[in-house]
Symmetry: C2
Subunit: 453 residues, 2 copies
Amino acid sequence: MSTPRATKVTPLSGFPEYLPEQRVVEQHFIDVIRSTFELHGFPSIETRAVEPVERLLGKGGDADKEIYGIHRLADDEGGAPGRESELGLHFDLTVPFARYVVENAGRLNFPFRRHQIQKVWRGERPQEGRYREFTQCDIDVVDVGELAPHFEAEMPLVMAEIFAKLPIPPMVIQVNNRKIPEGFYRGLGIEDVAGTLRTVDKLDKIGPDKVAALLVEAGRTTKQAQAVLALAEIRTQDTSFVERVRALGVEHPLLDEGLEALAAVIDTGAAAAPGAMVADLRIARGLDYYTGTVYETQLVGYESWGSFCSGGRYDELASDGKNTYPGVGISIGLSRLLGLLLGKGLVGASRKSPSAVLVAVTDEGSRPASVAVATALRARGIPCEVAPAAAKFGKQIRFAERRGIPYVWFPGAGEGDGDQVKDIRSGEQVDADAAAWECPAADLRPQVVALGE
Amino acid sequence: MSTPRATKVTPLSGFPEYLPEQRVVEQHFIDVIRSTFELHGFPSIETRAVEPVERLLGKGGDADKEIYGIHRLADDEGGAPGRESELGLHFDLTVPFARYVVENAGRLNFPFRRHQIQKVWRGERPQEGRYREFTQCDIDVVDVGELAPHFEAEMPLVMAEIFAKLPIPPMVIQVNNRKIPEGFYRGLGIEDVAGTLRTVDKLDKIGPDKVAALLVEAGRTTKQAQAVLALAEIRTQDTSFVERVRALGVEHPLLDEGLEALAAVIDTGAAAAPGAMVADLRIARGLDYYTGTVYETQLVGYESWGSFCSGGRYDELASDGKNTYPGVGISIGLSRLLGLLLGKGLVGASRKSPSAVLVAVTDEGSRPASVAVATALRARGIPCEVAPAAAKFGKQIRFAERRGIPYVWFPGAGEGDGDQVKDIRSGEQVDADAAAWECPAADLRPQVVALGE
């Protein structure tokens, strides 16, 4: 502890912080996410905040721009340290997880499932919905050598269960399989799969006409371009996408594999969580490294905000030279989601204090009696606090009101020196015994609820 | 997500990471700490990981050595950025909290109580029980202008309740009040209070004879030195320390204030948590900035590890030029505590998986039936997972065994195609219905228990 000087304080752009009443919302979301991950058998791990910069850079050189390196201030005089030994803050939870799997492979049981809820950092220029420090909530399953395909259907179901439990507008998980566009393009005679995908990915921004023009410009025939766009337009809640793709008359073994795999995921989804998932053949998320199923998620009514929950299957999450570790994972961008919901006033907490009861203090001499009431209430799991000063009762009630604390307890206020408790919302005041009083379940903890916009 | 190259992986000294079974222990500790903080009415806040370096340096120039600065790798070519604009990782939770209070003063209700459980970073050379990344669990109460003294008695009681709930050896919270040594020294005619405290702080390391010699060397009389040592020897479970100090025959108004304040804290403690607290007049923790009560905490039997929970009262936590904000706080060094407990094998988890049940798969064609069982169990709050492959049942049981999952569910194994569930510890297998089966409460979640050394 050291007392800082009285310098001016200003928020840092891109580093959001919450007031206690907003943090109640964030904690509720994290509690629901964690408990659902655990219900599905995903244990928690945490990884250190830093990795060697060399590992963070990995492939994809442009990640470079986003990474924060760290350095000991005491080393500053000696100039910046060389990159070999340098550490940087992780920018996602997948790179550290891959390293953790390789590092601990001998002590983990495969297939290994884990969840991870942690902050990550990116040195990007902040903009709406983008932060420099933000929280990600990931699940992954990783195996040695081969990974069973049924895990690809399991991942989005866990997320659908979470979305159904949260006080948010409906979420739709869009699922694709990278083998579908790749097989389809190859069946059309298009060799430049990656380039075509990149062009199709611009559909939302520039529209189908310009995408078609770009494809033709890149050497595709008009017919090929039209077929590519026709595939991207297919979006179905059930497995009817298979027929619609077949109707386009393109054939390729990879396309068959992709259609079968996606149909299995959509079938499982339709049975377990009707309406939560759609097959969307436009989804092109990270198709350069994902090798099978890919996921994105839109909040209905806020599609322009992009995806709040994404992931996919990769055949090589990690490798230690001897073994490769294929995996499938999906991640909620919690800070982005809360940024939207709190920013638009779509969600809120019923109170900012965890206390359900404020125990009033009649005079400072009787404070021990008030403390004893609080101890008795806590022993039965009722969160409470004792009034900070033996002020007039009206002032003590206002103290509770300002924090949203629903009950004020008055020791010795009843007949025969018994206690009384007042619901300050209704004004009702009744005799009560700290060893027996039942706090209504809805008042025990702050409630987090959806609000109208 | 980007796939890292297959570079070698080595742990980073000072950045501890846990295996899933160790993380279960850490999560249990955090859950107990958080829920107890909430029972006592402390809402949660989190602050961003970074502060302006200028603020981190504050007073106490030697904090400098411990701070990690951060820099965007993309900026590296331009040389190290100037310190004015530089950001660093926070090294405790008090400095960021002080800044948060000043920044949000208009939106907080005072007295403001909060808890904060977060990682902090220090660029120190790592050694046993010292880390470069570690988790702290803080509570503080802060007010505007003046802070009522009863909060000084409340802080250690919250911690005593936590320690009583955790599967750890007994903790003893040692309490002192800085006014006692200061008043006592002044009453003895010693003007150099800070220098005397620093010398007395060496008692554990060099013993009373050498401390006495150092005091005399610094100009104290032999009689003064003996009185200083006599004060430091006083340690009582009740308020009898007052009489023992009085018996030393020293008088000073500040000493009277300190004795009265400490007696009030010890009285409250003895009433609410007998045996949890002692008055220990040797405790000299941070007496340069604490202004009243100070706390340290020893784990009985592991005194040489130092304090696992410390804090105190400071008259100026923060200041914005117009107002000062006095506060009192106490902090658990969770990573240090877990480092000891896990390192010595004093605590462990009953299993590494959150799953209470593994639902077996008879053949891949019937996987949907197994998924349906899992969905039914989860709907009633029973964590479970479905076997990864339709292997022989013996292999599926071993899959559960290796993860500590206590039950294996066999769909359709009973009479009339009913299900059966096997407790793989006892071998008992009985008919069961996923819509009705009750998982014994002790098996629902991993249990965290004390182990013999």
